[in-house]
């Protein structure tokens, strides 16, 4: 175990010795730190304000703690399950390790440790700054930080153990291929999951949660909030942080409960892992079809004609990409994850807007700009995951298209034809779904709609082209492509672009004349992608890497 993990660390630090990797790592951690610092100050200001509110202060603080810890828990579990199969069953170093005289239980512990490290980001990035901000806002002593950070570590163990257990059970139960039924089912589950989560965070009668009808009380009650979040493993941690900040009793009991839950789940994971891991690993090596032992007597296979819908060079490439993505479990899982986030966002917004008081309408321009930023950030993330790597994911099979009479421009065009309509459709649907919640004029709505769809068009063209300028053909994992230097530059430009769009949307909704900015935005949206596309087409003439 020590040797295995030591070798992993050595490899990691050796990678960091390469200048390009080191620069990427520094930029990555710098951006991450900026996000955490920004989050800390945002939360601290919010908590400081809330503690000045006599009636709602405590209740809203608890509500915020509950809501964002629940979100952190869900994000940790879902994103961890998506990455889990690679860590536990398909990593090349694990395949090699299985040929060595090492017990499977030891290998499982090694992978579990890696899994915990990889999966810890949502709790570290989302939850930790919020909890520290709470302590800072309350001028809490060292004991607060000790208690809450211990609670968070236990929480991390709970979330990761839950994800590991789900992974083991999925691997045990699901010997199914990613059929169209599974894809549609997962998508539906993601949409319903987003809706369900939004109902917990913003229930229909949210004001009743704070008992706002009975103002004879000096303070809003917190019991209803506690009851609403009681079924979730994040509740004891939220309550622990709240009690520690408020100097309320029950802290040892809560810490004990959180610790026991973590230890219990962790033990269960170890027991199941010891029992199942070796068998599941071997099963996973059999592949999906033909190579599976249960398929040995299979006589009939469902044959889908190729191409099914589209024709010609471009059509064949698009259908190839669609089939490759829909048949890849991780891609389908990532799509579902994005769908969950999108659905959660729209349902949360809908719930909040329907119940908000008229006061929020004064802030419509700001909220509209935030909505544009939210949609834009979502589009940029989806695009980074699926469109930026679209050329790179040709990988070492890039020789196939490069050895056939296919112009590089035709290749790029087919990738764009695949990505741009899909991303623009997401933008249009998001705009149409969210605009009714904002009190803006028809012209403001039209402006928002045009800017959203234009942004989607820009992001799809720009990111696909950037992915083609110097594609990482030896790095097949599309999730990691966005962490290359080129991926980071693409991310940075995309985020600055979205922030600029948000500013223009804000100014327009505020009634200011921003025609020159509009023009600049539109021209930039078209010119930059065309320039990058030209460079990419030239670069793709040969595969020099």
């Amino acid at each position: 175990m020590k040797t295995l993990f030591g070798a992993q660390l050595k490899l990691f630090f050796r990678l960091l010795k390469e200048p390009a990797t080191a620069i990427v790592a520094v930029i990555f951690f710098f951006v991450l730190s900026l996000v955490m610092v920004g989050e800390f100050f945002g939360f601290r200001e919010g908590f400081e304000f809330l503690f000045t509110q006599e009636y709602f202060g405590r209740a809203v603080s608890l509500y915020i703690l509950e809501a964002f810890l629940l979100l952190a828990f869900i994000l940790t579990v879902v994103s961890s399950v998506i990455t889990a199969s690679g860590i536990f069953f398909h990593a090349p170093d694990l395949r090699f390790a299985f040929t060595l005289p090492i017990r499977a239980a030891t290998l499982f512990k090694w992978r579990l440790l890696l899994f915990f490290l990889v999966s810890s980001w949502p709790i570290t990035v989302i939850a930790a700054p919020g909890i520290i901000a709470l302590g800072s806002a309350r001028d809490a002593g060292i004991s607060f930080y000790f208690i809450t950070l211990s609670g968070l570590i236990f929480f991390l163990f709970t979330a990761c153990s839950t994800a590991a257990l789900i992974t083991l059970f999925i691997a045990r139960l699901a010997r199914i291929r990613t059929s169209s039924f599974v894809v549609v089912g997962l998508m539906l589950f993601a949409v319903l999951g987003g809706w369900g989560l939004s109902q917990v965070i913003v229930p229909r009668d949210i004001f009743k949660s704070f008992d706002a009808v009975d103002l004879s009380k000096t303070e809003a009650p917190i019991e209803r909030i506690e009851t609403a979040f009681l079924p979730f493993p994040s509740h004891p941690v939220a309550k622990l942080a709240f009690n520690a900040a408020e100097n309320e009793p029950g802290i040892p009991l809560l810490l004990g409960l959180v610790g026991l839950t973590a230890a219990g789940l962790f033990t269960i994971v170890l027991i199941f892992g010891k029992e199942w891991f070796a068998k599941l690993f071997l099963k996973a090596q059999e592949g999906d079809f033909i190579a599976r032992s249960e398929d040995v007597n299979r006589k009939y296979t469902k044959r889908i004609p190729f191409p099914l819908f589209l024709r010609g060079v471009g059509g064949a490439i698009i259908e190839k990409d669609i089939r490759s993505i829909l048949r890849n479990r991780r891609d389908v899982a990532s799509l579902s994850f994005f769908l969950l986030l999108g659905s959660l966002y729209i349902f949360l917004l809908s719930g909040a807007a329907q119940q908000a008081s008229d006061g929020y309408k004064d802030r419509a321009p700001l909220l509209l700009a935030l909505n544009f930023g939210g949609i834009g950030y979502f589009l940029a993330t989806v695009s980074l995951r699926f469109l930026f790597p679209l050329i790179g994911r040709e990988g070492q099979s890039a020789w196939i298209l490069s050895s056939m009479p296919v112009r590089p421009a035709a290749l790029i065009l087919s990738k764009i034809t695949f990505g741009a309509p899909a991303l623009t459709a997401i933008a249009a649907i998001s705009a149409v779904a969210t605009l009714p919640f904002f009190e803006v004029t028809h012209s403001g709505q039209l402006h928002f709609f045009i800017f959203s769809t234009l942004s989607a068009l820009f992001l799809s063209l720009f990111q696909t082209a950037m992915g083609g300028v110097s594609p990482e053909l030896r790095r097949r994992d599309p999730e990691r492509m966005s962490t290359t230097p080129q991926g980071l530059v693409t991310t940075f430009i995309s985020l600055v672009y979205i922030a600029t769009g948000s500013f223009i949307v804000y100014a327009t909704a505020s009634g200011k004349n921003v025609f020159p900015y509009d023009m600049f935005y539109i021209i930039f949206s078209l010119i930059l992608p065309l320039l990058i596309l030209r460079i990419a087409a030239r670069k793709l003439t040969y595969i020099e890497s």
Partner: protein, 242 residues
Amino acid sequence: MNIVELKNVTKKFGPLVAVDNLSLRIQPGTIFGLIGPNGAGKTTTMKMLVGLLRPTKGSIYIDGRAVDEEPLFTKSRLGYIPDDPFVYERMTGREYLSFVAEVFGIPKKERDERIATISQLYPIAPILDGYMDNYSRGNKQKVVILAAFLHTPKVLLVDEPVVGLDPESIAVTKKLFRNFAKNDGGAVLISTHTLPVAQDICDRIGIIKEGKLVVEGTIEELQQIANEKNASLEDLYLHFVS
């Protein structure tokens, strides 16, 4: 007329000269074997012929047209079988063949007939509807070889054709190449370390070392140059390379 021609081709990767002023001509109906030690520049030469790599100096012609000037034309005349058969993992073998046919613009009816015919060449019909990431290396290689024949090319560029193939499939593959050259008038350029295969099917042999063509000719011509009558290709190889 030469169907494949390299004129003073050099390829550098930074300070490394992978191919050094190489000139070569191949006639239609010929199977030409390119042999040499590891790192001699065989695969680099193949990739330049396909148009995957740009030569640093010199010119390459396929069917009379320059590869760098008319890549679509030259690629339409080529069938390429690389040394590592990396394929689209999440496609079935049959889908892959259809994909290649669609890109080459073969009409659907003709494509289906051709796929049905060529898929009989190797015993792979039972796995043709399974995803290719579950294929063995040899089976991937077979699908790639079949795909190279789909559009009836004029030139086959084959990098290590028999690695991973079982003996029966090696025999089938050799017959395929022979028929392609002798019956269809195509040219085959084979880069290989498997000397018995080269000796068995190649009409001419070129030995390449450190990017330079050391010698070129028929086996008999090479025996004369080496002054070793009845020498095997292995003996000749060792003679010229060591």
